[in-house]
C-alpha cells in the first residue's frame, strides 16, 4: 500500500503537476494562435514573440515595483505588473494590425502571404525585445517560492517520496482556469462572442447580417493580447525568461493548436495538454515508479525511458506529424470557432 502511494506521489510530482502547468501555458498560447487563425485566417508566426513581448513588459514593471518596494507579500510581484503587460501587448497587437496586417486583409491576400508578413513582424518584435532587454536569462519570480516543499510533504505523510508544489505552478493553473472559463463564456454567451463565431464560420454571411468586421478583428486582437501576455509571463515565471526560448516555444504552440484542430478553441486547450503530457511522459525515466509498483524480482535495471530528454522538443513535432497524417483536421474537427 505504502509502495503504491509512493509510486503515485512520484507520478504526481514528476509528471502530472509539471504537465499541468506546462500544458496550461501551451494551451493559452495555442488558444491565441487559434483565434488569429479562425478570425484573421493565417498562421501567426509572430505569436511567440508577442508572448515574449508581454512577458518583457511585465518584467520591466516588476523591476519598477520592486524598486519602489511595492509587492504582494507571498505572491510574486509579477502578478501586479501583469495588467500593465497585458495592456502593452494589446497595444502591440493593435499597432501591428493597423500598420501591417490590415492592408493584406483588405487586399484579400492568400494565407501564405500573411504568414510571410507575420515572419516580418516576428523579426521586428524580436529585435525590439533584444534591444530593450538583451538576451540574458532573467529570473523574476519573487514572493514565496514553494507552497509545499518536498521535505515538508515527507514529514507530513511519512512517505519516502516528496511532493514539491511551486507557487508559480499553482498560479499558472489557477489563472488558466479563470482565463479559459472567461473566454468560453464570452464566446458562448455574449453577443460579441457569438458574432465572432459567426464571422469565423462564414465571413460573407456574417457581413451580410450586419456584423462589423473591424470590431470583430479588434476584439480578437484584444483577446489574443491577453492570452499571449499571460501565457508568456507564466512561462517565464515558471521556468525563467529568455528571449530566445519563445522562438522555440512557437512550434509546440502551433503543434498544440493543430493537434487539437486549428480554429477550434476547445481543441487548442486539449491540444496544449496533449502535447505537454506527451513531451513529459515520453521523456520521463520511469525507473523509480516501477521500483515501487513492481515486486522485487521484476524491478527494471535500466532507466525505463522511451526517449532521452534531448528529444523533448522533437516529441511535439512527431505527434503533430502523426496527427496530420491520420486526422488532418485535428482531434476535434478544426476550423470552427
Amino acid at each position: 500500500m505504502i509502495d503504491f502511494l509512493n509510486s503515485l506521489v512520484v507520478l504526481l510530482n514528476f509528471i502530472i503537476i509539471p504537465g499541468l502547468s506546462y500544458g496550461s501555458q501551451l494551451a493559452l498560447g495555442a488558444l491565441g494562435v487559434t483565434f488569429v487563425y479562425a478570425i484573421l485566417r493565417f498562421a501567426n508566426f509572430a505569436h511567440g514573440e508577442i508572448m515574449s513581448f508581454g512577458a518583457m513588459i511585465t518584467i520591466l514593471f516588476t523591476w519598477f515595483f520592486q524598486s519602489q518596494n511595492i509587492g504582494l507579500g507571498i505572491f510574486p510581484t509579477a502578478l501586479l505588473a501583469l495588467p500593465i503587460g497585458i495592456i502593452a501587448t494589446i497595444i502591440l497587437c493593435i499597432i501591428s494590425d493597423k500598420f501591417v496586417f490590415q492592408y493584406y486583409r483588405h487586399q484579400k491576400s492568400v494565407p501564405v502571404v500573411l504568414a510571410m508578413v507575420s515572419i516580418g513582424v516576428m523579426f521586428v518584435v524580436n529585435a525590439i525585445i533584444r534591444i530593450i532587454i538583451g538576451t540574458e536569462t532573467i529570473k523574476f519570480s519573487d514572493g514565496q517560492k514553494f507552497i509545499m516543499k518536498a521535505k515538508q510533504f515527507k514529514l507530513m505523510t511519512g512517505l519516502n517520496e516528496g511532493l514539491a508544489l511551486k507557487s508559480s505552478q499553482v498560479i499558472t493553473i489557477f489563472l488558466t482556469i479563470i482565463l479559459l472559463s472567461f473566454t468560453f463564456w464570452f464566446l458562448q454567451k455574449t453577443k460579441t462572442g457569438k458574432s465572432m463565431r459567426a464571422f469565423s464560420d462564414n465571413e460573407d454571411l456574417a457581413l451580410l447580417s450586419g456584423i462589423n468586421p473591424d470590431r470583430v478583428v479588434f476584439i480578437t486582437w484584444m483577446i489574443v493580447g491577453v492570452l499571449a501576455c499571460v501565457a508568456g509571463t507564466l512561462y517565464g515565471l515558471d521556468k525563467s525568461y529568455k528571449p530566445i526560448i519563445y522562438l522555440n516555444l512557437v512550434l509546440p504552440v502551433f503543434a498544440s493548436a493543430i493537434v487539437g484542430g486549428i480554429g477550434n478553441p476547445f481543441g487548442a486547450v486539449v491540444g496544449g495538454y496533449v502535447i505537454a503530457f506527451s513531451e513529459i511522459m515520453i521523456t520521463y525515466a520511469y525507473k523509480k515508479f516501477f521500483v515501487y509498483i513492481l515486486p522485487g524480482p521484476l524491478e527494471p535495471s535500466g532507466l525505463v525511458q522511451l526517449l532521452s530528454t534531448d528529444y523533448k522538443f522533437a516529441v511535439s513535432f512527431t505527434i503533430l506529424v502523426i496527427v496530420l497524417l491520420i486526422r488532418p483536421s485535428g482531434i476535434f474537427k478544426g476550423r470552427v470557432l
Binding site: 501564405v112 504568414a115 510571410m116 523579426f123 532521452s308 513535432f317 488532418p328
Partner: protein
Amino acid sequence: MMKFERYEWIAIAIMISLFIFVGFIQGWSVSLVILNMCIISAIMTMGVNISWGYAGVINFGVMGFLAMGGLAAVIVSYPPIREAWQVGGTGLGISLILLAMLVFAVMYINKVVTKKSSKYWINSIIIILGIIIIRHFYLNATANIEDVNPALAGFLGGLGLPIIFSWFVGGLFAAGVAFVIGKVALGLRSDYLAIVTLGISEIVVSVLKHEEWLSRGVKNVIGLKRPVPYEIDLQNADWFINLVTYLNSSKLNNVIDINDRQQLLNNLIIDGSGIFVKLSYAILFLIVMLIIFYFANKAQLSPWGRMMRAIRDNETAANAMGKDVVKQHLIIFVIGAAIVGVAGAMLVTLDGLFTPSGYRPLRFTFIIWIMVIVGGSGNNLGAIFGGFVIWFAWIEAAPLTTFIINQLTLGLEPTNALKVHLLDSVPYFRYLFMGLILLLILRYRPKGIIPERVRHS
C-alpha cells in the same frame, strides 16, 4: 542562353560594385569573406526559389537540409575511426537491418489489412515492439562507439575522401530526407506544410545534435580538410612568393632599403596568402553557383518548367490536363532541397567545422526566406540578387548601426546610460533591419526586386 533585361544588368552591376566598395573601405579580405557567404546564400536561395517560385511548394525546412549537407561534409571527408567501427559496427548494422525489416513489415500490413481501425492497431503494436528490439542493439552499439576516445573521436568518423565530393553527397542526403518529408507532408495545405517542414527540420537538427556516434553532436567536428591550399603552405611556396613579388614589383622597387623591402614582402605574402585562399573558395563556389544557375534557368524555360508554372497557377486545371500534381510537387521539393543540401556542405567546407547546435531557424530558415521574397520568387537571378543583398545587409548592418547611433547620440556623454545600452545592443539591430526590409518589400513590391518575367509562349 538567356538574355538579361536592362534592370537585371543594373542588379548585377550593383552586386559587383558592393564588393568593390567594401574592398576599398574595409579591405579585400573582408570583402571576399562576405562574397563567399553571399554565394552560398545565393545557392540556398536558388534551392528554395525552385520549389517555391516554380511550383509554389513551400519549404520551411531549409535548416534541416543545410544540416544534412553539413553531415555529408563530415561523413565524406573525416578520416574513418576504425576502432569505433570495430566495437559498434555490427550492432549498428543489425539495428539498421531490423529497421528496414520494420519499415517493410509496416508497408506490407498497409497493403494487406484493409480495415482502417485494425490497420492502425496492428501497425502501432508492431512499431512499438520493433522499436524495443532495435533499441537493445542500437543503444549498446552507440554507447560503445561513444566510449572510443571521447575527447577526440567518439564517433564513427567518415570516409576520408576529399571534401569536395561532399557537395554532391550533401545534395543526395538532403534529397533523401526531402523525399521522406515530401511523401509524408506534401498533401497538406501550404501553411500547414510550412509548419510541418519547420518542425521536421527541428527534428533533423536535434537528431544531429544528440546522436553523437554519427555526428559527434554538440561536441562538434573540427579540422575538416580543405579543398584549397593552407595559408602556411602558400607562404613557404616559391611560386607563390614569386607571384606576390611580381604583382607588387612597382611597390617593392620604391623601397630602397633591403631590410625594409624584405619586411614589406613578408607582410604582402601573409596578406596575399589569406586573400588567395578566400579567392580560391570564391572561384570554386562561383563555379557551382553558375552551374546551378544555368541548369535552373534551362529547367525553367523547358516544357517541364512550363508545366510547373501551370501547376502553381492553377492546380486543378493542371490536374485536369493529366499532369500528376502530387508527383511533380514531390519532385520539385526534392530538387530544391538537394540544392540547399549542396549549399549546406559548402558552408561546412568553408568553415572547416561542423557545429550542429549552430543551426537555428531564425538564421538558417527565415533569413533564407527573406532572401527569396526580397530577390523575387520565380526568378533565378532575383534569387541570387536576394542572397547577395540580404547577406550583405546582414553583415554590414552592425557597422551601419554603430555609425547611425553615434550620429544620433552625438550630443550625449560617452558614459550616458542610453548611449551605452544602444551601442551594446548593436548586434540585435540587424533583426530589425531584416524585418523591416521584408515588410517593406511585401508591401510595396510583393513580387520582389527582380520579379519573375511574364512569358507568353
